[in-house]
Amino acid sequence: MNRPGYHGRFGGAFLPEILVATFDQLGQAFAQAKADPSFWQEYTELMSTYSCRPTPLTPADNLSRHFGGARIFVKREDLNHTGAHKANNVMAQGLLVRRMGKTRVIAETGAGQHGVATATMAARFGFSCTVYMGEEDVERQRPNVFWMQQLGAEVVPVRDGSRTLKDAINEALRDWARNMDDTHYVLGTASGPHPYPEMVAYFQSIIGLEARKQILAQAGKLPKRVYACVGGGSNAMGIFSGFMDDDVELVGVEAGGKGLGTGMHAARLASDQGSVGVAQGYKTYFLQDDDGQMRDTHSVAAGLDYVGVSPILAHLHETGRARFESATDAEVVEALRLTMRMEGLIPALESAHAFAQAFKEAPKLGSDDVIVINQSGRGDKDIFTVADAIGDPDWERFIIKKAEAYHA
């Protein structure tokens, strides 16, 4: 099975006819950009002047000492402009949009990081911008909604379905089916119909390329394992792609939510509850019922709260090239607290999943082993969720006072 857009038996482009020509156009634009060395050069230059690339690789020596096993390094994607790896994909797609001569971009967003990144890109390139966001996510990620609007984007709350990320994707696809002439859909992750998984993974591979060079320079060796959280799969694909041909174990960490036994999670690969299906234009593992209806997912991290997963990761799972685990909401909050206290780093709740799994495994590795955790984003945006999860009484008093002030 070497059909274009397929990774083993996963991927493909299950598209309504109305969108076929648009995807063809995008596929051609991407192929041309990939074949043109000046594109990658332009991309890396842009990311070094507009964002913070290369992002550093931080040795987490306090955590390493604390766990007493492998030496831990953290790839700092949180230091990108807008605070997450999302900026990489978005700016590269912006360059592509300019090449295609389109003037409007649309995007879906879960946690809001991709929406904010897309809104900044649109502001920078002079595109108009509409972001679709599940109503439930709009409610729990208000700060990002605020910033998107301030950046000039229109944020459309999606009230259909489970009112989360997958429903925002459906709505974005519907918009695109109407407005493909002037509009590009900036899909935020390495999922969806071909060419998105391949294209987003290619743009995000900048993470892995840098990380490989950095770990060799700083540790003098390749890591034993690389950890990344997995929602749609873009940050994982980004860092994994740097080590694909090495003897390095790739570990993807999904949202264990309230525990795999509760059914309230988003572990499509790490649990035995995912099964192969076709939805939102591609074939992969989904959390679905026996009829093929998508199930509701849950995670404390909105960015991981998604029913599908990158078809490339599904393939790596099936071939055994990558290992998939899950971390529960509670483990994630604990890992976040520890990381803040010991290293002064504030990973996003999404990224904290990778930390939680690495912390489970690090003590069992040898002291001459090295591991890399991808800190895909920063946690400042999660202040409301984290404060709730920690149950900080001072924060609660502050919010009550603030609300009273608005009432006055």
Binding site: E17, G161, N170, R174, A279, Q293
Partner: protein, 254 residues
């Protein structure tokens, strides 16, 4: 076979009517009553949509109907039973409309076989382009059902030819960009597009997306073989009740 049925029916009528319902919306009893009502109102073919949780090609009216049906516990098994009942009691061809995952998860071949046993004549699965259609087309051929494919205004001439190679029964021409349930202007612009559709296939042509009034159906006479009414029938159902749907359908082709 759908093609010969459409051709013979066209000897008697200058335009045929295909309507659509969402199975289990608002409930199965109403679905089956709607089928009877529509058939009595003179409908020539019907699409029975099996709800799917991610209906990317549908607009808000149908998407919400599907969602509500699912919230009320509609299952694929129950949809198959209802389709069986509809086909057994009504003498027009019925087609399934759904998304590929519904077939895939059931087992594509088993699903199509079961559809044939239920008396279904064809299927519209909008997220299966021919390139992804091996499994689907093999099953449809094996069980003698017609796969209905779609032309869109964005389809190039070459693309239409590729799609036409796999199409049987008729080709569903989408009137405009977008999703189901939005307004369409059936202006002269349509003629160039329909001429391209005609050149690409010998099969009968159906036109849908935004057909909602007798004027719309009138405008399609002599231009296509079948007018497709989808979302508007659901709107009538929601606004005025099941009884009004019969009147609405009968009034479309005065």
């Amino acid at each position: 076979m759908l093609e010969s049925y459409i051709r013979s029916r066209r000897q008697e009528k200058d335009i045929l009517l295909m309507t659509h319902i969402v199975l289990g919306y608002p409930d199965f009893e109403t679905s089956l009553a709607l089928v009877e009502t529509m058939v009595q109102a003179g409908v020539d073919l019907m699409e029975l949509q099996i709800p799917f949780s991610e209906p990317i090609a549908d607009g808000p009216v149908i998407a919400r109907a599907c969602q509500k049906a699912l919230e009320r516990g509609v299952t694929v098994r129950r949809c198959l039973e209802a389709a069986h009942e509809a086909a057994a009691n009504n003498d027009i061809p019925f087609l399934f409309m759904s998304y590929f995952n519904i077939l895939f998860k059931y087992g594509t071949d088993a699903f199509v076989q079961r559809a044939r046993e239920a008396g279904i004549k064809g299927a519209i699965v909008p997220d299966v382009p021919p390139e992804e259609g091996d499994e689907y087309l093999t099953a449809m051929t094996a069980h003698g059902l017609d796969p209905i494919f779609i032309f869109a205004p964005t389809s190039t001439d070459d693309r239409m030819k590729i799609v036409a190679r796999h199409a049987r029964g008729f080709v569903y021409c989408v009137a405009r960009k977008g999703v189901t349930g939005e307004k369409t202007e059936f202006s002269r612009d349509l003629d160039g597009y329909l001429a391209r559709c005609r050149r690409a296939t010998e099969l009968p042509l159906a036109l849908g997306f935004g057909v909602s009034s007798p004027e719309d159906v009138d405008a399609l006479r002599g231009r296509v073989d079948i007018a497709v009414v989808g979302s508007q029938a659901i709107r009538v159902l929601e606004d005025k009740g099941a009884a009004a749907v019969g009147e609405f359908i009968a009034g479309l082709r005065k």
